[in-house]
């Protein structure tokens, strides 16, 4: 597989007076798994649809390997496998036929198509459903068939819109494993997900969108650093949980108490100082667990920052 860069060049899409996305500039190198995160209506799906040529940009362009993506062009469709949010046109087929047909249409030989279909049926636990009609499946099963149909013949660019929607925890885990296995030096995987916590394990780069703009672009670690250096601490009191609660209140407002346990999020320095103080008093603390903030924590903190800024701007305008 030869390597292809993906470039978004001053890309914008406007529907009436509303910008679905605005002045997006990005270069994505091969070999990376990139996550598009953000609230509903942030413009993530529009970005994927512009990539595959389903939505025509109002301004700017998308380039693949230096060539401009034009809607309906065959070379674009040959390079990109796309899983949309909505069901695929596979409802009349059986599960096995649906996956195999996708493999054949992607140019695989019958033998490869059969073999790859079988592998995915097993990995996604769909073997027992192989002869069931796709239209009769549950939402989650239907989603798995869609994922299998896209992953059965992976292309240099794989774009997945909410791949784990409607899936149970075990299946979500398997799908993330499959996505991780797709990682290749020449491949770009671009995925939209609301499941920040699970996406974290596979992502090399995180793009956070809000109001049609990219608000953060970097690795998961840089996102955490971006929102501050903090720790999540969970403490079970040996005696006097009220004392722990009082101490925590002095350093942060983000805490919860459940009977003898106190959970809180605070700056790394403050949290470590407090822990050192508690551990110096025998019997005060029965157990402690300390966590680095997850990508989800960082994402939520970032969203709180935006909302705070937006509220402040609104108040300033009113004044």
């Amino acid at each position: 597989m030869s390597t292809i860069n993906l470039e978004y060049d001053h890309l914008s899409k406007r529907y009436g007076d509303t910008w679905a996305n605005h002045d997006i500039n990005l270069v994505i190198e091969p070999g990376s798994i990139v996550g598009l995160l953000g609230p509903n209506g942030a413009g993530k799906t529009t970005l994927l649809r512009q990539l595959v040529g389903l939505t025509r940009p109002t301004e700017g362009q998308v380039r693949l390997g230096g060539r401009t993506v034009a809607p309906g062009k065959r070379w674009v469709k040959e390079l990109i496998a796309y899983l949309p949010q909505h069901p695929l046109a596979l409802g009349d087929l059986t599960v096995q036929e649906a996956i195999r047909s996708s493999a054949l249409l992607r140019g695989q030989s019958r033998r490869d198509a059969d073999q790859n279909t079988e592998t995915l049926l097993t990995r996604l636990n769909l073997s027992s459903l192989r002869n069931r009609q796709v239209a009769g499946l549950s939402g989650g099963e239907h989603r798995l068939v869609g994922i299998a149909s896209v992953l059965v013949a992976p292309t240099p660019i794989v774009a997945l819109d909410e791949p784990t929607n409607e899936l149970d925890p075990l299946m979500r885990h398997r799908v993330w494993q499959l996505i991780e296995k797709l990682r290749e030096p020449a491949r770009i995987i671009l995925l939209v997900s609301h499941n920040v916590l699970e996406a974290e394990r596979v992502l090399d780069r995180v793009l956070i969108m809000n109001d049609g703009r990219i608000r953060h672009d970097g690795g998961p670690l840089s996102l955490r650093q971006n929102v501050g250096d903090f720790l999540k601490v969970s403490v079970t009191a040996g005696v006097a949980p009220e004392r722990l609660e009082d101490d925590v209140q002095a350093i942060t407002t983000e805490f919860q108490r459940h009977e003898t346990a106190v959970e809180f999020t605070a700056s790394r320095l403050e949290a470590l100082k407090l822990l050192a103080q508690w551990l110096g008093e025998p019997g005060l603390v029965a157990s402690v667990s300390v966590h680095e903030p997850s990508l989800e924590d960082a994402y939520l903190a970032l969203r709180q920052q935006w909302e705070g800024n937006d509220n402040q701007e609104a108040e300033e305008r009113e004044v």
Binding site: R74, L79, P87, A89, Q133
Partner: protein
């Protein structure tokens, strides 16, 4: 750059099989509706007009055969395509490395085939009720396939332009009646408007069908040409509309 798509033969075979799969789920409405109404009209006219002239009987039989074809390819296909569009399932085809012209061919062929049991039933009515001697020619199959493409492409265009499935059905019914009505009106009754009939997908098939089925003759070359041009033009328009991005 690595390219991944199927050779044309495989593509057509897979797309045809994908469309044929609809038969498993929906054969009852497709076959029954496209057969019952036209066959019922033939029976009704036979019972209410016992003294009808042979030429008029031929018109009724050939018109009913074409009605069966147009119910499947214009009305039912337009509804299916509108559903594909509204549910966004059409995007699946639009992002696959396939020829959308070939997808339209597969859709129209399969929907055209749904009408064949109805056509056969009407032929049997003509033979046994109206005692019309009928000929079978392999060209009938070619005619039905090209007619399916011409009418089915019109059905596809309606489905792509209609805002939803219900309106597609309504528009499909109106177009179907217009196509059949104007296609069946005798040329002498239209005068200077005759030329306009060339734009209807029913004009050619009706003339060819009468020649083939009732007289076993193939002397309607200009109609074949008109039908072919119509089918190709409608195919181009429908696949263009299918490719249009949002």
């Amino acid at each position: 750059m690595t390219r991944q798509s199927a050779p044309f033969g495989t593509m057509l075979r897979v797309l045809m099989r994908m469309q044929f799969a609809r038969l498993r789920r929906s054969w009852r409405p497709y076959i029954v509706v496209s057969a019952v109404m036209p066959a019922g009209i033939v029976l009704l006219i036979h019972l209410t007009n016992p003294g009808m002239a042979a030429n008029e009987r031929l018109n009724i039989i050939s018109g009913a055969m074409l009605l069966a074809e147009s119910i499947a390819t214009i009305v039912m296909l337009s509804q299916y395509v509108a559903w594909l569009k509204v549910s966004q399932a059409l995007d699946h085809y639009r992002v696959m490395p396939i020829s959308l012209e070939m997808l339209v061919v597969a859709l129209t062929t399969v929907y055209g085939l749904f009408a064949w049991p109805g056509v056969l039933l009407i032929a049997l009515e003509g033979t046994f009720l109206d005692h019309i001697p009928m000929h079978f020619s392999p060209l009938m199959i070619v005619l039905m396939l090209v007619t399916s493409l011409a009418m089915g492409s019109v059905g596809t265009i309606i489905g792509l332009l209609a805002p939803d499935e219900g309106l597609a059905g309504l528009m499909g019914n109106l177009v179907m009646m217009g196509v059949l009505f104007l296609g069946m009106v005798p040329v002498r009754a239209l005068g200077p408007w005759t030329i306009g009939l060339w734009i209807l997908p029913s004009t050619g098939p009706l003339a060819i069908l009468k020649g083939l089925v009732f007289f076993g003759s193939f002397n309607t070359g200009s109609h074949w040409l008109g039908l072919l041009l119509y089918a190709i033009s409608a195919l181009m328009v429908s696949s263009y509309l299918m490719k249009r991005p949002g």
